[in-house]
């Protein structure tokens, strides 16, 4: 089945130690999104790619970076995780941008010690 896959499902890192979360999709969608969701809160968009075009949200901290080496894969890099970065990170895709359903992966829960 076509799907959005996130690895790992759980990630534990140390304060200040760089961490990379990965997302892959078999849907061949043009757009990939990264969201941060803290406990009992709404998902918050960090950035998105339309093909190779990167779009950063204005309030996304510089500590968060992303890479999309090809259509199928997208990575979220947190350069120096702080305790406040502990959250669920959700990857999503859509065929195009406007007026489309987004397809979410199962998420990666990040714990910062």
């Amino acid at each position: 089945d076509a799907m959005v896959i996130q690895n790992p499902r759980y990630q534990v890192t140390q304060f200040g130690k760089p961490v990379t979360l990965s997302c892959s999709q078999t849907l061949n969608h043009n757009v990939m999104y990264w969201y941060q969701q803290k406990s009992s809160q709404a998902p918050k968009l960090l950035f998105h790619y339309y093909d190779k075009d990167f779009n950063n949200e204005a309030d996304t901290p510089d500590n968060f970076q992303s890479r999309r080496p090809n259509t199928s894969f997208c990575f979220l890099d947190i350069r120096s995780p702080g305790l406040g970065d502990a959250a669920m990170y959700l990857c999503a895709t859509s065929p195009r941008t406007a007026q489309e359903t987004q397809y979410f992966g199962p998420g990666t829960r990040l714990l910062v010690l």
Binding site: A42, T97, T101, Q102
Partner: protein, 111 residues
């Protein structure tokens, strides 16, 4: 800032009962979408309703949209224990499809 505000924040019902949750938003929209999230999991798309539509159905789900009041409702009929989840509304209000999510309604269905 959040575009959608959901009401109630939490809802507890018994199997077989109906569950209704509401979403209000602030600006004009292209469409409004409802998603479900089981605990510790990703979001699953339920229904997309466009700004020129007033009602949509999908199985036991019914969504209404009132653009004059900037509000939407999600009705789950004949609820089941498996419907236990958080339900989020999300509005698509700009040209490139950015979704803004509400804080969600946590629904618990007890057998």
């Amino acid at each position: 800032s959040q575009q959608g505000e959901e009401d109630p924040q939490a809802l507890s019902i018994q199997e077989g009962e109906n569950a209704t949750m509401n979403c209000s938003y602030k600006t004009s929209i292209n469409n409004l979408q409802w998603y479900r999230q089981n605990s510790g999991r990703g979001l699953v798309h339920l229904i997309l309703i466009r700004s020129n539509e007033r009602e949509k159905h999908s199985g036991r789900l019914r969504v209404t949209l009132d653009t004059s009041k900037k509000s939407s409702s999600l009705l789950i009929t004949a609820s089941r224990a498996a419907d236990t989840a958080s339900y989020f509304c999300a509005t698509d209000a700009n040209s490139w499809g950015k979704l803004q999510f509400g804080a969600g309604t946590q629904v618990v269905v007890t057998p």
